[in-house]
Structures are given as C-alpha cells and as structure tokens.
C-alpha cells in the first residue's frame, strides 16, 4: 500500500497500462518532456519513448481523429486534452465519429480510445480552464464517462478505461490532483461503472462525483452534528449511471440531493432526479434537489467561490429537503 496523489495514481495507472500492452500509447499536447501541464504523464516518455508517449501537434480534432485511426489499426490510444474548455475543437470527432463507430459498422468495429480531460474549477484560473462539460458528452450514446474522486479509484479506473472496448472519457477533477490517499495496487479493481456508497446514512442521500465528493462528505459530517444521518454516494460513472445503487439508497433514506459543479440546467443532476422520481417516487419524502453551477459561463476566478457548490449550499439543500 502506498500513499499518492490522484495525479500520481493516474500516472502509475498509465504506466501499468503501457507496461502491460505494447499497443497502448499516449498522445496529447505537452505530455512528453513536460509530462503534461499537470505532470500527470511525468517521466513516461523517458521510460517508454517518443513512440509510446507522443507529443502531438497542437490540434484537438487531430489528436482524437488520429487516435480513431490508430484504434482502427488495433492500437489503444489514450488522448490528453489539456483543459476542459479546449475539448471543443475535438467535439466533432468525439460525438460524430468516435461515439458512433460501433453503431455505424453494425458492431464490426470497436473504438477503444480513451480521452482524459482535467475538468472543473476551484483553481483560480482564467476562462476555459474551469468548466464541467460532462453532460454534453453524456448525452451522446456510444461514449462511457467516468470520473474518479480519489487516488485508489484513479489508479484503477484509468487502467479499466484503457482496457475497455468502448470509447471512454475520463474527467479528472483537476483541483483534486494533489489530493492524497492510499492506493492498493493489488486490490481487485471492481466495476468502474458502478457507484460507491462512501458513507452510510438513514435520513437523506447525497450523490456527488469527481471534485464535489469531498464537499459532499464534509456536508454529511456537518449534518450529523445537527442530528441528520446522511448517506453519501460517489457516482464514479456518469455514463452509464448506476441507478440501482442510488435507487436502493433513496428507497431507505427518502431524500436525495445531487451535487455537481456543472450548471444544473440540462445537467446530470436533472437526469438523476428524473430517473429516481420514476423509480422511487413513493419512497420520496421530498423532491430531488439539485445543487450545482448557475446558468452562466463559468465566472471569473475572483467570484468562483460563490459559483462552486460548497458545504453550505449542500446543507441548505438538505434543509429544504427536510422541510417537506
């Protein structure tokens, strides 16, 4: 068992994938000598060479489009998009090509391409460096989307993404890259597309993912002081969503709060609210409440603390749920 940050855990996971399968290769802007702007690929070019860790031209459509071609030839490319807001030049290749390759070929072709995207705010950055565009991709059939919230998951989920036959987008919570935790490299990996109950409770459930998982846990701890027993679920997979785990929890607790950084309108929270209303309507003591970003472009850094859901916003939502 070793203690490492999420960034290091992904680095170790990528190292394991590169070691296990010579067909795995990494590509992206500045991922070689520099090791990526977040150093997630640090040292990998040194150890695996420029053919396996490819500093690509500065072109997102090019990175993803050529990765599709490499996958057609039997390779397993892992693309790094430098920041969330810069995935859009590659959006076309992801949604019209990568996501549909299998369907368009009637199941004959697979597109095992992984796209890593550091996402979310809280780092005080300039525009296009703090966004959470996961819902735009989750709406596209054919993609799988996961987001680890701790080093143990990060280590395994990146490897599982690489070995998955479907295209997988890994949204990496960039403000948690330095979060440390224990990583058991020999533990069985489990299902990357399942949700995990991180904290048991009886009165309400909070579903969160990626960067908001620590916030949800802290809110649950604070709620306990008020005598409320709150269960916390780390969703881990945004597409597919493990609705069984969420339903089971809500059936017991009767209240659901969904928290994410992305704007609530048209977001993942709405999807979860709708499904849970269908599945567990009679168990609900209150409407499902969403906590998330506002309907605005991600705001300037000096005010982002007011935009980002924090412990108090989740507690306020809990208050509303208990008021019914």
């Amino acid at each position: 068992m070793a203690t490492m940050t999420i960034a290091k855990a992904i680095n170790e996971g990528l190292r394991a994938s590169l070691t296990q399968d010579p067909r795995t290769l990494l590509m992206g802007e500045d991922i070689g000598e520099l090791g990526g702007v977040y150093r997630v690929t640090d040292g990998l070019k040194r150890d695996f060479g420029a053919m396996r860790v490819v500093d690509s031209p500065l072109a997102e459509s090019g990175i993803i489009g050529t990765a599709i071609g490499l996958a057609l030839r039997g390779y397993r490319p892992v693309c790094e998009i430098q920041f969330d807001g810069f995935v859009f030049p590659g959006f076309n290749q992801i949604t019209t090509q990568l996501a549909k390759l299998r369907t368009r070929s009637d199941g004959m072709l697979s597109a095992p391409v992984v796209i890593r995207i550091p996402y979310g705010g809280g780092i005080g950055s300039v525009e296009h460096h703090s966004e959470s565009p996961e819902a735009l991709f989750a709406h596209t059939a054919g993609l799988r989307i996961i987001t680890p919230s701790n080093p143990q998951d990060a280590y395994w989920m990146i490897q599982q993404a690489v070995s998955c036959e479907d295209p997988v987008i890994v949204f990496e919570p960039k403000r948690r890259y330095w979060l440390k935790g224990e990583v058991d490299t020999s533990a069985p990996a489990g299902d990357p597309f399942s949700a995990h109950v991180l904290r048991a409770g009886t009165d309400a459930t909070i579903v969160a993912y990626g960067p908001l998982v620590p916030v949800a846990l802290a809110a649950a701890a604070a709620a306990e002081e008020d005598g409320r027993s709150v269960e916390v679920i780390d969703l881990r997979s945004i597409s597919p969503i493990d609705f069984d785990t969420v339903t089971e929890s809500v059936t017991r607790t009767g209240r659901l709060i969904v928290a994410h950084e992305a704007p609530t309108f048209g977001g993942i929270g709405g999807e979860i609210a709708a499904r849970i209303s269908e599945r567990a309507f009679l168990s609900l003591e209150a409407p499902v409440i969403r906590v998330g970003g506002f309907h605005m472009p991600y705001p300037v850094a000096r005010v982002e603390e007011h935009y980002l859901p924090d412990i108090d916003r989740i507690l306020e939502a809990l208050d509303r749920a208990f008021a019914y």
Binding site: S56, G69, Q97, R104, S105
Partner: protein, 405 residues
C-alpha cells in the same frame, strides 16, 4: 460619410468577388503542371513528368501496363460503375433509395486511384467513392444499403480494407492519418510486414474543413504513409472551387512540406500512374503526398440538388469532350485494342448487373430494432439493456392486442 466604395447593390458585390476570383484564379491555375497521358481525343502521350518542389519527377516508371488487357479492364470498371450510377439514380427516382450521390464524370479519378492500391493498403472514402469501392471488392448492392436506409455501413471494412462512407466532411482524413501512423508502428515492430499506406479521399469543398489542415499537419509531423486524394470536381454542392481556395489545391501540400501533384482526373491512365507513385513514396517511408485529381462532376451533387440553379451550361459543354470513358474508348478503338464485340459484351454485362442490383435492393432486409440496441456499445451497458427490455415489452403488448382481436 458613407464611403462611395460601398457597392450599391448586392449583385455588384458578387461581380467584384467574381472578377477578383477569376483574375487570381487564372494566374494561379497556370502555376501548376497537370499530368496527363491520355488526351481527350484518345491519343496517348509518351512522357509523364512534372516539377514538384523544384524537382523534375518522372512518373513513367509507374505507368501500369498499357496493353489491351489492362486498358480494357480499366474501361470495364469505369463503364460498370457508370451504369451502376445510372441505375442507382433511377432507383432513387422511384423512391427505393432515400438519396443518391452520383459519380458520373469522376470514374477515371476513382478507378485509376483505386486500381493503384495494393490489398494491404487501406482507403478512407467520403460518400461518393463508389468506383474506389468497386476496385476494393465491395459489392455494388452493399453500397446501396446505406442509401436504402437499412444500415449506416454496408460492408466489413477490415475484409476489404475500405472504410465506411463518412458523411461528416473531412472527418475521415484524420482517421486515415492515424491508421497510417499505426502502419508505421506495426512495421517498426515487425519489419517483415508488407509495406502499406492509407489513402484519404475528399473533395474540393472538404479541403476547406479544419480536419484536412490538421490531418496534413499530423501526416507531415509524423511522416505518416498516407496519400491525400482530393477529387476536385469543381463544385461543393453549388459553391465553386474558387471559393474554397486561391491557389491550386495541389500547391497547398508545399505549405505542409510534402509533394503535391495535379493530375488530369479524367485520364485513368495518368491517375493510376500518379497514385502508384504516391503510394510507393508513402509506403517506402518518404512520407505523405497530396494528389489533386482535376475532374468535373457531370451530374448533380446528389439527387436532392438542382445544378440548373447555379451552373453555367457552357461549363458542361466545355467538360463534355473530356469525358473519361469517351477518351479511353476512342483510344481502344483507334488502336485496335478492342472491337465491337468487347463493347457489346460489356453493355450486356452492365445490363445484367443493373438487374441484379435492382433485385438486391428490393430484397434488402430491414434490421430489427434489437440489432440497433446491440451495436451501441461493445460491452454490456445497463441503460441500453433497460431500454431494450422496455422496447420488447412495449412491442409485445401489440402482439397480445392482435391475438385478442
């Protein structure tokens, strides 16, 4: 003051633009050699050289056989694919196909380039490459499955080394480059593998898409064994090539640092030679090549298009004598390489192909919805499974209703 330079009416703007384009156009068009072997009158020239990046390149070693058997087989392919095109247009008019994308006029560009490919090469088409498909062994009826609406694919790309049609313009050019990068890696790992290349087909309109730029950058950066094959058929639906580019498309390659060649796209013999050269160049590790096949789309863009709204009839008259089939037929006849019997037999063969095609289209089976659910993901997916179960129960409800009636 509102400046007097502002044109008074919209048509003046058009005129100004048109004049500018044609002045630039004529000047630039003359700045690139166009390779040709078989002249429109059917005579065959000897030499085949062009200046590329300041160097004279002799393509004649890459001429395939010019004997009767080879030329007749090229003619046969062009003839059959034109007949296929006509039959498909008719099927669309009769409501049997949702849409048809004709290739008439582009037979030489497609058959010539397709026949230059070797089995281990891999082609990435747009949506009009029916001739290339024929040379890769795709059955004509398989192509129509897409337009009939029974699949978005139609054939096994790996079996034919011919990728699926791509309706998002230029997207496939990046796939071709990535595939070529894969070939490169495979060869490094196992030098005994046969040398191979990939080919990206696209049009003059698609050449403006960002993906073409990015694919050329990637191809050059990694020296990928890829040939970019642009069929400049002069039009992107209703927009002329001059709106896409100020320089002849072949010359764009220079900016990326690899050779660009313009070939008479209506001359099947020259297209085959130039493509063989380009593939050899790419396969042997010398990097990418751009070929611009200068041709003309004689028919409409698609069956949904109306060329009378934008095309000058003089244009068509100018291109008519350059018809790729007419010129090869003239050559075969004047040189005594083929007789009436050959042409008669071919006409009969084409007729029976058309009949078979029609039968095949009418008997195409519609896939069931279950197969649609099954091809979204490679691995099991709970949402797809849940929706499939819903769909099956819902459908089953109708069956029960029927029973009670």
């Amino acid at each position: 003051m509102s400046g007097s330079r502002v044109p008074a009416a919209e048509f003046e703007v058009e005129e100004v633009l048109r004049a500018a384009h044609s002045a630039i156009g004529e000047q630039r068009e003359a700045s690139v050699d166009m390779l040709q072997v078989l002249a429109p009158d059917g005579t065959m020239a000897g030499g085949l050289t062009a200046e590329i990046d300041g160097e004279m390149i002799d393509f004649s070693p890459y001429l395939a056989a010019t004997d009767a058997a080879h030329l007749c087989s090229l003619y046969r392919d062009m003839f059959l694919i034109r007949r296929f095109d006509q039959e498909s247009t008719a099927l669309q008019r009769q409501g049997q196909l949702a849409l048809w994308v004709p290739l008439t006029g582009q037979e030489a560009a497609q058959i010539g380039s397709g026949r230059a490919l070797q089995p281990q090469d891999y082609a990435f088409p747009t949506y009009r490459e029916h001739g290339v498909a024929l040379t890769r062994g795709v059955e004509p009826a398989e192509i129509l499955r897409l337009f009939r609406g029974v699949t978005n694919g139609g054939w096994d790309p790996r079996e034919r080394n011919f990728h699926l049609y791509t309706l998002v313009l230029a997207a496939q050019s990046l796939h071709a480059v990535g595939y070529a990068m894969g070939i490169q890696r495979d060869q490094l790992a196992d030098p005994s593998l046969p040398e191979a290349a990939s080919v990206a087909y696209f049009g003059d309109g698609a050449s403006s898409e960002g993906d073409i730029h990015e694919s050329m950058v990637f191809a050059a950066s990694f020296n990928a064994p890829v040939v970019f094959f642009c069929q400049n058929n002069q039009w992107a639906i209703s927009v002329p090539a001059a709106v896409q580019t100020r320089v002849p498309l072949a010359r764009r390659a220079e900016g990326y640092g690899f050779p660009g060649v313009r070939v008479d796209g209506n001359d099947v013999v020259a297209v085959e030679a130039v493509t063989r050269w380009a593939l050899d160049h790419a396969r042997s590790g010398k990097g990418p090549v751009l070929i611009e096949a200068y041709t003309y789309r004689m028919s409409a863009h698609t069956t949904a298009d109306d060329p009378t709204k934008y095309r000058l009839s003089g244009d068509e008259q100018e291109w008519q004598p350059r018809d790729p089939l007419v010129r090869l037929e003239a050559h075969l006849r004047t040189q005594g390489l083929a007789d009436d019997a050959f042409f008669d037999e071919l006409t009969a063969e084409a007729r029976s192909m058309a009949t078979a095609l029609r039968d095949a289209v009418l008997s195409m089976t519609v896939p069931d919805m279950e197969s649609r659910f099954a091809s979204v993901y490679a691995e099991p997916h709970p949402l797809v499974q849940e929706e499939l179960r819903f769909f099956q129960q819902y459908e089953a409800g109708f069956v029960d209703e029927g029973k009670h009636d």
